[in-house]
Amino acid sequence: MDHASNSWPTAFIVILWSLIIIGAVRMAQAGRRFYIRRIAGLNAIDEAVGRATEMGRPILMVPGIGDIGVIVMQALSIFSYIAKTAAQFGNRILLPTGGGTGPAIYTVADEVMRESYAAAGRPEAYDPDSVMFISDRQFAFAAGVSGMIYREKVAASFLFGEFYAEALIFAEAGQMVGAIQVAGTTQTTQIPFLIASCDYTIIGDEYYAASAYISREPTLLGSLAGQDIAKAIIWLLVFVGAIGVTYYSATGGQAAMKAFFLNQWLTPH
């Protein structure tokens, strides 16, 4: 099993990043304001919900088929915001869940949607049948969701979470019915398909920035600022490492490159 003792420098970096993120959160909670650049895909969420309201067609939200964890929790936080907006406008929402831990996601999603409607002041408008479990099998889930898209002719489709091959099935089905589609995933293998099929795609850590961007809560903004500082440290390490490896490989050969302190320091033993 992997432990910190396999690579103490890695453990040190994890602790350093954690302290930076917690420190930035505390600063934000104390009143420090942080800037977030514009993210087109997240700005489009309100536009998509508005379009669905005008067309009188439902909004689809799919949290992917990954195991319940930080990725799904982030997706549900985004859907919570969408549901609050939909509740205010009286839009119908559809939230199918699936995958290995689909039932667990279903129970959490049901609670999140219920709380979102209550927070929007419309608890009576929540339809328990709008959140449903489809299947734990990947393509059964894909068939169920794509059938839902075609039958309901959704006006807006939000694909946030962990997706695999079924991502393209959802995105193309949404294209066929003319839905406005916003997607965000951590699976780098699916990003090209979503970019080709969706109107807006959230790439990389924009996915984790989404909740901060939407809610503008100090805790989340501070966390985002802490992430940026951590990424700046990574950039510095990569820059120093690239310069060092290039220099040592040009002058000292393989032995010198292996002895380069960053190589020794960060490579697990």
Binding site: M1, H3, A4, N6, A11, V14, W17, S18, I21, I22, V25, I68, V70, I71, M73, Q74, S77, Y81, G100, T101, G102, P103, A104, Y106, T107, V112, A119, D129, M132, F133, I134, R137, F139, A140, A142, A143, A165, L168, I169, Q175, T188, I191, F193, I195, A196, S197, G204, D205, Y207, Y208, S211, S215, E217, T219, L220, S223, L224, Q227, A230, K231
Partner: protein, 267 residues
């Protein structure tokens, strides 16, 4: 005394009536805890949840940071599979809720004869047939045929539709309507040519290595794009994702985001 040995002495394996008694006792305790949590005021309930979340995360954090011995384990490693099994058991409980959701929604469709209620009949019948055959006829040809010849075939059919969806997505993506689309089109063309024999034949007259002109071979350019450009971009994305995941995990573990988005305000 090792922690694993101490716990083995405190909680020895049970069989027969002692096992049933222990299960009943745990069930009673769970029911008591359930009602006790409900009786707590919301603020105290949130503190209990935050405490439980912190302790659960603390176990895994401690297990990772605790130095491992020569055998790659530390005093907490033995409990990792058990804690993982707890998560699996909780997930299995929720499977019942998922099945209930399916039965409720599709049963409602059938009872009220909503549009497409016939599909709901097929779904419910299929669910019952698979469940019964899996429980009572698992070793028979009937269940194996249902799984291998029906279920797997349907999976393969859905997977096959991807081929057509890829074509339509690629057609839309490769229409040259902006600078980025043009760059993507050129890159895709070079990478695809570098992977197929006819593309490689276009520059086969250039030596594969040992010459500056080797850089102009389609397969070398394709390989460079994939292993240098594309890999660097993917790693950059993965760095951001890793840091983002750490940030969210910290926020959930330390309950820093209470009141941020799942609730209207922190109490």
């Amino acid at each position: 005394m090792k922690l694993s040995t101490l716990l083995s002495k405190l909680f020895p394996p049970l069989h027969g009536w002692p096992l049933i008694g222990a299960l009943v006792g745990v069930l009673v305790l769970c029911v008591f805890l359930f009602f006790a949590l409900h009786a707590l005021p919301p603020r105290a309930r949130k503190m209990v949840i935050a405490g439980a979340t912190f302790l659960a995360g603390l176990f895994f954090a401690l297990e990772w940071f605790w130095p491992a011995g020569a055998d790659g384990t530390n005093p907490l490693t033995f409990a990792v599979p058990t804690v993982g099994n707890v998560a699996n058991v909780l997930t299995a409980f929720t499977l019942g809720l998922g099945v209930m959701s399916l039965i409720r929604i599709h049963g409602n469709n059938v009872a009220r004869q909503k549009a497409g209620w016939e599909n709901s009949v097929v779904l419910l019948a299929g669910m019952v047939v698979m469940a019964v055959s899996g429980l009572f006829f698992e070793k028979t040809i009937f269940f194996r045929s249902l799984f291998r010849d029906v279920l797997n075939s349907f999976d393969a059919a859905m997977f096959a539709t991807l081929a057509f969806y890829i074509i339509s997505a690629a057609y839309r993506a490769f229409r040259i309507k902006s600078v980025e689309a043009t760059l993507m089109m050129i890159a895709a063309l070079v990478v695809m040519l570098g992977m197929i024999p006819i593309g490689q034949a276009l520059t086969s007259f250039i030596p594969e290595r040992g010459s500056f002109l080797s850089l102009l071979r389609v397969d070398n350019i394709s390989n460079w794009m994939l292993t240098i450009l594309n890999a660097a971009a993917q790693r950059a994305i993965n760095f951001g994702l890793g840091v983002g995941a750490l940030a969210i995990a910290l926020r959930v573990w330390l309950s820093l985001e209470r009141g941020a988005y799942f609730e209207s305000s922190a109490e």
